[in-house]
């Protein structure tokens, strides 16, 4: 169980023989271990064959860096604590250029610093997985969990005409799975991929099966740099001074994005049958919405949950279909009204769309979400015309 020890003084296995306060078969935690989200993501990346990790300390993702500081050298792989987030992601750029499977992690203010290199890596078609364990903002904000970087992740970060796939786990077990998927997407489409978590997912401990998935390594791509012995040199760059050349490169990128949009949308639906109010939420907010669904249904309000797993590409058609017979749609988020913009674009006015959000590290309670469901239900006229 060494692998699952936390680094530092508190290094001991935390396998629960039986869960406290229960004992029922249905809730058996046997064969599971308690891990922090940050640690689980790190270990999942190692299992997936991550060759190089570059990071910089920031709360609430520091445990990810600490885990890598101990584990990557154990595995004989590359680990560097950089002098800044700028340097960390540019080290990743260099490592990706020579064919490494690269992970970088940070939290919101650090991600802002990485925006420049995200644009360069997208333009240079370099794969990488970037974990953002979101905290409250703007500015230095707070260290509490937030989803205030939704727009940054899905529409923003750097300059220019590019997109980045964004995967949003809502549990630590799902985060473990999505790490492998993120590397697969990054390599298949030669693009950076964001794994968008938040301070709760990063810091909380949950029981997980310590079965981390190994990823196959594709044959060495023909763009990787290794010295131009016996062949023409390769240049990995985003500079195309002639507008004709740059537009051609941009069109190629857009074609890749169209392919990603066509093939890679993911979502999960819960209690959508007969739902009058369809909630849309991802990550930690989706966990709260799930509890709110149960409480609303217990109170006679037919609520359901549509949970996007890819935030870009946003599963717009699937949401539209899920909400077709609903009376209202309610976006629940830990941000000011960012996710709701994509929800409105998806619904295109077919059903009234409402929003409930908290900010700054505040987390909505299930009961306040139920109240929001009730308001959405009573405000909308019930017609889906």
């Amino acid at each position: 169980m060494t692998v699952l020890d936390r680094p530092g003084a508190d290094a001991r296995p935390r396998v629960l023989a039986s869960p406290p306060g229960t004992g029922g078969e249905a809730f058996s935690l046997q064969d599971r271990v308690l891990m922090k989200g940050n640690e689980a993501i790190a270990e999942a990346a190692i299992a997936a064959g991550c060759d190089a990790y570059f990071g910089y300390p920031i709360t609430p993702q520091a445990e990810l860096l600490e885990w890598m500081a101990r584990r990557m050298p154990e595995e004989g792989r590359t680990y560097v604590q950089a002098e800044s987030e700028l340097a960390a992601i540019n080290m990743a750029l260099g490592a990706a250029a020579v064919g490494a499977r690269v992970l970088v992690s940070s939290s919101s203010p650090g991600i802002s610093l990485m925006a420049e290199a995200m644009s360069y890596m997208a333009g240079s078609r370099l794969p990488m997985v970037l974990v953002n364990v979101m905290r409250g903002g703007p500015g230095l904000g707070s260290i509490g969990a937030s989803q205030g970087d939704y727009l940054q992740a899905t529409k923003g970060h750097g300059h220019g005409d590019y997109r980045v796939p964004v995967l949003a786990p809502s549990s630590i077990a799902e985060a473990i799975d999505l790490v492998g998927d993120a590397f697969t997407l990054a390599e298949r489409y030669r693009t950076p991929v964001i794994l968008l978590a938040d301070g709760i997912l990063g810091q909380a401990m949950e029981p997980v099966k310590p079965t981390f998935r190994a990823l196959e390594r594709p044959p060495r791509p023909d763009w990787v740099l290794d010295g131009a012995a016996g062949r023409e040199p390769r240049v990995i760059k985003s500079l195309h001074l002639r507008p004709e050349d740059l537009e051609r490169a941009d069109l190629a990128l857009q074609a890749t994005y169209a392919e990603i949009t066509e093939n890679e949308q993911r979502w999960a639906g819960e209690s959508l049958d007969g739902a009058d109010v369809v909630m849309v939420a991802y990550g930690t907010a989706a966990r709260i919405a799930r509890t709110a669904v149960e409480r609303a249904r217990a109170a006679g309000l037919m609520a359901g949950l549509f949970r996007p797993i890819t935030l870009w590409p946003f599963p717009a058609a699937a949401l539209c279909e899920a909400a077709r017979d609903a009376r209202a749609v309610l976006a629940v988020e830990m941000s000011a009204g960012q996710l709701v913009e994509d929800v409105r674009l998806a619904i295109e006015g077919a059903v009234p769309v409402f929003h409930h959000g908290r900010m700054g590290g505040m987390v909505p309670t299930p009961d306040e979400v139920v109240d929001a469901v009730r308001r959405a239900w009573s405000t909308s006229d019930g017609g889906a015309s």
Binding site: A82, S84, A87, M91, G94, V98, Y120, G227, A229, I236
Partner: protein, 284 residues
Amino acid sequence: MSATREADGASPGSPAMSEGRTIYARPLLLTNPTSYCPGCGHGIVHRLVAEVLEELDLGGRTILVGSVGCSVFAYDYLRLDSVESPHGRAAAVATGVKRVRPDRIVFTYQGDGDLAAIGTAEIVHAAARGERFTTIFVNNGIYGMTGGQMAPTTLPGQKTTSSPLGRDVETQGYPLPVTEMLSLLAGVQYAARVSVADPGHVGKAKQAIKRAFEIQLEGKGFSIVEVLSTCPVGWGMTPTEAMDHLRDTVMGAYPVGTFVDRPRRIAPSLPQPGPSHRSITEGF
């Protein structure tokens, strides 16, 4: 020049030399004629790098880390696998390349705007970590590509488009002697400043560049060669005037020489890590 060859050195289209021996040929690692301005030093520095890599037989396993500025075009003229960096980040990119491929020869090619202004943190920390790559730092004291603005390396009183009355040290500060600063760091195995002002200095510049790559081959730490160069257009001079200015004025402000060559026991005398430092280390 040790690269004496028997091959015909005539350029395509010219009449073949019927007799005689080629005493100089364009290095095979150089590709197209450069697009740099007349009198610009980049062409000379590119050639020196190409000659050195060729003489050390490293061309097939070298990775060039490009930067932003006129230097960005290096990958157009050097027949090497290359990756471009965001402005100032070449030392971080090179860190990633070299850490993953320690068996490759890795070097950054950066100007003074890139390295000494926006990339100061990256170069200092790469040097402090003793990263095993080489930096070719071409210092012409100005931002050439963007039209001749003041750089951290611009000399006091020097007129540029963003210091039209001359650099005023009261408000715009003093030139940054980057290579001297880096020489203080224990991770630096080799640090030298050279010049392309005349053939004698060009020869010494080549020796320094060669030494820097040899140090990388030994794998002990960071190596940097600062090459004092020209920007006739940015300086408002003819190519000849620019070379004279480089020799008579710039080299006076930035002394050339080898600052660090640790294998040869050349290093500034600095306070060494004291007993307290060692005891901290031993404590763990």
